[in-house]
């Protein structure tokens, strides 16, 4: 166990990758609960796609360092667009989203295809490059995490009220439009922070799976949030360790992002099994007097 789970992280690049993935895992797990409560999984998926052209343009303009800022601008633009689109329900929400996400994604693909290292670049954008995380990137991730957690703590009551009962929240004076913008912004920030490490395709798993698994084992928010955060962080750690071990010691090259997601899915399956067992457990038999 030691050899698999501790030893690899003696290398500074592996330690940085571990820190990045565990922070992102915990952050995405937490925000995932909000996504779950608001039923925004599809919106989140759209967001991961619309961030893609931002990533590409940022990279084309100023290399690796441009990815974060390109993603940030695209993410912010999408958060605003989505808030406006879903506010007036003239178009059905999912159709509007589907159009938006494919359009943005296609723009990204066209832009990448003009580059010489087409396949390598595309792979990096889609699946991330966790092993090359720099200290500067780690700092950015920490800053985003602090910002997102602060927003969630400050807005926790309005967000809960709005998620549970939008009409009632509006009636008691909460500004639903602003709350929804804040929600979309929080989700966009997490997507942007995660996109370089795990890629646009796998972010969605990081956001949705831990929260969904936590919801299966508990129906109390006070437990769901920490369970999702811990599961997200743990999956980052275990996935990274397993993919490293397989690559180095067994000659089996496993992409780390994909391995993280598979660990998450395994966690979800365990949660489902655990919930099934709990439900089946016979009620305590009343003792005869």
């Amino acid at each position: 166990m030691y050899q698999i789970f501790i030893e690899p992280f003696r290398f500074p690049f592996m330690a940085r990758a571990l820190a990045e993935l565990m922070i992102l895992g915990a952050l995405a797990g937490t925000v995932g609960v909000l996504i779950l409560l608001r039923r925004l999984a599809f919106m989140t998926d759209a967001l991961t796609h619309t961030v893609f052209p931002g990533v590409v343009i940022g990279y084309l303009l100023s290399g690796e360092g441009g990815i974060f800022w390109g993603a940030l601008i695209a993410g912010a633009a999408t958060a605003v667009l989505l808030t406006l689109l879903t506010r007036h329900r003239a178009v059905t929400e999912d159709a509007a989203l589907a159009v938006l996400l494919t359009t943005f994604f296609a723009v990204g693909v066209v832009l990448v295809s003009r580059e010489s290292g087409y396949t390598a670049d595309l792979t990096a954008f889609l699946f991330g490059r966790i092993l090359t995380v720099t200290p500067a990137q780690l700092t950015q991730t920490l800053a985003v995490t602090a910002l997102v957690i602060a927003m969630m703590v400050i807005l926790r009551r309005p967000l809960l009220a709005r998620s549970f009962d939008p009409e009632g929240a509006r009636a008691s004076g909460y500004r639903i439009g602003l709350l929804d913008l804040a929600t979309n912004t929080v989700v966009a920030l997490v997507v942007v922070a995660s996109v370089r490490a795990v890629g646009t395709v796998l972010v969605i798993a990081l956001l949705i799976v831990p929260a969904a698994a936590a919801r299966v084992v508990s129906d109390r928010l006070a437990l769901i949030v920490p369970i999702a955060a811990v599961l997200g962080a743990f999956a980052g750690w275990a996935g990274l360790a397993v993919s490293y071990d397989a690559s180095i010691h067994h000659g089996l090259r496993l992409a780390s992002g994909g391995t993280v997601v598979l660990v998450l899915i395994a966690g979800h399956l365990v949660a489902l099994a655990a919930a099934a067992v709990i439900r089946r457990r016979p009620r305590p038999v009343r003792r005869a007097a």
């Binding site: 409560l37 009551r157 809960l160 549970f164 009962d165 009632g168 009636a171 008691s172």
Partner: protein, 259 residues
Amino acid sequence: METTPEPQVPPPALDLDEVTVAYGPALALENIDGMVAPGEAVALIGPNGAGKSTLIKAILGLVPLAGGRISVLGRSPAAARRDVAYVPQADTLDPEFPISVGQVVLMGRYRRIGWLRRAKAADKEAARRALEQVGLADRARHRFGTLSGGQRQRVLLARAIAAEPRLLLLDEPFNGVDAVSEQALLDAIALLKQDGAAVVVSTHDLALAHLACEEVCLLNRRQYGFGPTQATLTPDRLRATYGGHALELRGDRVIVAHS
């Protein structure tokens, strides 16, 4: 602007003055007029799509008026929001939502608690008492969605009571509610009225209008009557309000007002 002298009597809880609401070019409500005093209840009666919900939203200040004026406790609806509580229909809420009954009721205190502070003992006490008032004190730790429809409606009323409102608005609170819950709702509403709160209830149920409300407002886009329940719920007025369509009454408790 001249300063008006301080009024000697408290302002009415609700004052509707020629209220007109338009959705696009279509009028949803036209020239609604009426007044509700503190401690009184008024039933909004009319068919589906009559504008009952729209009127409630207008009183909450959530839809703009195309004409007329609404004053709540002598203030504009937006300015009075802190003293107004709204009870939505329980079946519009997601029963899978991971929230306990106690948490739902505590939401009624959110505006008082603020954003960052922890809930004070007084807030928790108010929530507990409100839940007691609707007869569900022993369910505080249960998940909201595990309760029956009628019990959920009572929890939402408890949330409103916890906010200590002076005007309470209920949207079809008796729809699909069992007899026990119906009585609990009526009792809690009566208690609120005793404490001086005014109540507006939208319903199709004439029997309940008789039981719970001193006044009725007959509504179908425009107003077909506003006044004391017995005198206003006449067969002629009802027929006019419902446009000759069959009334939706529960089979066993039909009370059509006799003239």
